[in-house]
Every structure is written in structure tokens, then in C-alpha cells.
Amino acid sequence: MTWKQMFTSSVGKKFVMALTGIFLISFLVVHVGLNACIWANDNGKMFNVAAHFMGTTILVRIMEIGLFLGIIVHLVQGYILNLQNQKRRSVGYAVEYGNRGSKWYSRSMGLLGTLLLLFLIMHIWHFWTPSRFGGMWSVQPLSEVTYPGTQIEYHNLYAEMLTVFQNPIIVILYVIGCISLAYHLMHGFESSFRTVGVHNNRYLTLIRYTGRGFSIIVSLAFAMMPVSMYLGWVK
């Protein structure tokens, strides 16, 4: 077997999906943890310092390139697989098979992924571009803050968040994004481990419940961020 065969056969393409998926999940752990700093209720100091660390540490910046590549590979491969799989039944059934054995969200990974992609574009535009290019290229203006005891100017991403999340429509779009994430992972978390060959039922059970817990807790935490800002729980 060649490397090419290993990653381009039907099983191989799923390895790519699963490995990039697991990588994206690991990113979510970091992202949700870091963003939770907004709830320190210190006017965003802890959050801004943490974001500054992420934005200025070379290793993190290299991983950021990996993250973008991971997302691109994941969604391109996802769309290709989805399209190919749809074409394998030219004449459909008169009576649909329906729900027996499978969940609607497990059959809708492409749709949920598309919602996630739309969300990501909006999300990157709101926060990533200003934080990376705001100062330099004036793509979007971003205020700076300094904190007592340091000379460093920090991008005030926290203020950016507060501004963005004053708009109820954007808050709703973020919540929809988080719901899509929850359902995408409800299936994706367990599925990715099955795809890379975990078949011991002890582990599968563990992964199933961890996956469900993870999907719900992480998505809920993300959703609560814009909501808490809109409702003024953090200022």
C-alpha cells in the first residue's frame, strides 16, 4: 500500500476527515478556555493579555497556519465526499428510509458544516482580521489599551467583542453557529474515533458520552459569550 492509496481510498479520505476533525476539536478546547477569560469580569484584562500571548507567540502563530490548513482540508474533503456520496444513487427511493438507526444530524454533516463555514467567515471577519491587521493595514480600526505595570499596548479585543455583540442579530447568528457546532460534533466526535479504528466497546462508550458532553458544554459556553455581553452580564 502506498501513502497515496492510504489517504485517497474511500477509507483513506475518511482518515483525512477524522484527523482534521480531531485536530479542530483540540483547537476548540484551547479557544473556549481562552475566551472564558471574559467572565473574569475584570474589564477584559485577563482576556486581552491571553489573546496578546496567542497573537505574539511564534509557536502559536505557526499552529495558526496549521489550523487554517486543517479547516480548508476538512471542508474541501467534506464537500468532495458529500458530493461523491450523493451521486452514488441516481434513482432515489419513492419512500424515504427515514430515521431508523440514524439521527438527522448524522445525515446532515454537510449542511451543518456549511452553516459552520458561513459562521466562521463572519467570525474571522469580526475578530481575527482586526486583531491581526487592524493596527497594520487599518482593515478595521481596533483600539489599544495599556495596563498598569506593563509598557505593552494590547489590542482591545474585549472592547471589540462588546461592540460587536451589541447587535442582537449578530448575537442570534452566533448562537445559530454554536448550535450547528453542537450538532456537528454530536455526530463528528464519536464518528472520528470510529473512523480511525477505535472498535473496543469500552472505549467507544467512553468516547460516546465524552463526545456528547463535549459538544453540549463547549457549544453552550461559546453561545453564552455573546449572550452575556449583549445582556450586560459582563461589562
Partner: protein
């Protein structure tokens, strides 16, 4: 279970041959006994059609009529093999239906299973997948003593559960991706778990997956519809096992045979 008779309306897919378009035709059958199997009910309808002499009887696959050969293949009211769990069409009894019901019967749908005629599909793709690696090589000579090959009980049980697969193709019919992974993984597990299948463990999984792809089956997204449709209740854990076997083959095999 109380015995009863029923009248039914049947919407059945009719198609002359591979090339023709095909469509549904509606038939009425009367006085069907609840004790009959679904295939016997179709037999009654076919006799009716032959007597009338207006159209050909309905072509459908069947052989053993006792749930072990995997030939019967009808997609009934949206379900491969009909409404009962863990049942082939030949073992589906008419007591699953009520008097006056309308039943829609379609062939398996997948480009890799082209319709040959009416409800008969060409499932030789499965045979070619088996030919690619679903076997063990046994040398000729004296038979070895059965007890000389030790088999772990847990593994032998798992191998036998997987070996229950009758290759009917309901997994493909149920899968939104028309994936054959439940079938292929059942064969890979059945042979790979046993010591007799161990020598070809890696080449088997690679060759069978390659043939499966060549036949045009889709990729598995672990949605589990196949498991629910399987008359032998083959577990999708087998699919995860195949994935693991494929990964380990991918990581350890040479590009091609070298010395």
C-alpha cells in the same frame, strides 16, 4: 397471533430491463393470509398476473426462503426487507400488515446494484469484492487436527457474529451514501479475527477496500442506518475494526512487494 385475511393494494416497481426507465404499477390482491410470507404473497399476485395474461409476472430474487441465502431483496415501505427488525423479506410475514393497507415495493437503489428487471438487482459487485480478498488460502494435503489451532473464545464469537452476514445488500440499500462498508467489514472481521485468516489479514483489507471503491460504493459516515436495516444485525463496530485494520496496513505495508 390471531389468523386473519386481508386485501391489499401494492405499488410495485416494474422495469423491463437494465436500459428501460421503469415505474410503479398498482395491483390489488385479495384474501391474503396473515400466515403467508411476503414472498408467498407476491407469488399469489404473480399467479393472478399469469392467469390474466396481460402482463409478465413480477421478477424478484429469492432462493432459500428461510432467511439464510441473502437473495431476497425488497425495499418495502421505505425499509430494506420491510418493517420487522432482523428479518429478511422471505421471513417477513403478512401479519406485519393490516387489512386494506397500501404497500410500496422497490428494488435496492444504488448505482453499484443496477436493476436487472423489476425487483431484481445485479449484486455481483459483492462477489467481486469477495474475490478480491474475502477468502483464506488453504494448502492441500492432510487435514490438520482441529484442536491444533487454538482460537480465543471472545474472538471466535465476534468472528461468528460477523460471519452471519448473508451479503444481501440491505446495508447498501439503507445507506444514504450507498456504502458497502458493513458488508465488507463483516467479511474482514470474520476472516481477520481467526488464526486461519491471519496470514492475509493486511492484503485482504487493502484489496477488498480497493475493489469496493472500484465498484463505486460510497464512503462510510458512521450514521448507523445499515446496522438497523441488517437482517443479521451485523454491528457497525465491524466498520470501526475495518478502519483500524486499514490504518495499520497503511502504516506498515510496503509500497509493493520487495525483497
Amino acid at each position: 397471533m390471531e389468523h386473519y385475511n386481508m386485501d391489499l393494494t401494492l405499488k410495485i416497481w416494474r422495469q423491463k430491463n437494465r436500459q428501460s426507465k421503469g415505474g410503479f404499477r398498482t395491483y390489488e390482491v385479495k384474501n391474503i393470509s396473515s400466515e403467508m410470507s411476503f414472498l408467498e404473497m407476491i407469488d399469489v399476485l404473480n399467479e393472478q398476473l399469469i392467469m390474466e395474461g396481460k402482463e409478465d409476472p413480477i421478477a424478484f430474487d429469492h432462493d432459500c426462503r428461510e432467511g439464510i441465502c441473502g437473495m431476497c431483496s425488497m425495499y418495502i415501505n421505505g425499509k430494506p426487507h420491510g418493517p420487522w427488525k432482523a428479518t429478511t423479506v422471505c421471513q417477513l410475514h403478512m401479519r406485519a400488515f393490516k387489512n386494506g393497507e397500501t404497500i410500496t415495493v422497490e428494488p435496492w437503489r444504488a448505482n453499484s446494484f443496477p436493476v436487472v428487471k423489476d425487483l431484481v438487482t445485479d449484486r455481483s459487485a459483492f462477489d467481486r469484492i469477495i474475490q478480491a480478498g474475502g477468502y483464506i488460502s488453504v494448502n492441500t494435503g492432510n487435514a490438520v487436527d482441529g484442536n491444533s489451532v487454538a482460537v480465543d473464545k471472545e474472538k471466535s464469537d465476534k468472528a461468528f457474529y460477523a460471519a452471519a452476514c448473508i451479503a444481501c445488500g440491505a446495508c447498501v440499500a439503507a445507506c444514504k451514501n450507498s456504502s458497502a462498508m458493513l458488508f465488507v467489514s463483516a467479511k474482514v472481521s470474520h476472516l481477520g479475527l481467526l488464526p486461519q485468516g491471519a496470514p492475509e489479514r493486511q492484503t485482504r483489507v487493502v484489496s477488498m477496500v480497493a475493489q469496493m471503491d472500484k465498484e463505486g460504493f460510497g464512503s462510510c459516515t458512521n450514521i448507523q442506518a445499515c446496522e438497523a436495516a441488517c437482517p443479521k444485525e451485523i454491528s457497525i463496530t465491524n466498520i470501526a475494526r475495518l478502519n483500524g485494520e486499514y490504518l495499520s496496513a497503511g502504516l506498515t505495508m510496503e509500497n509493493k512487494l520487495t525483497t
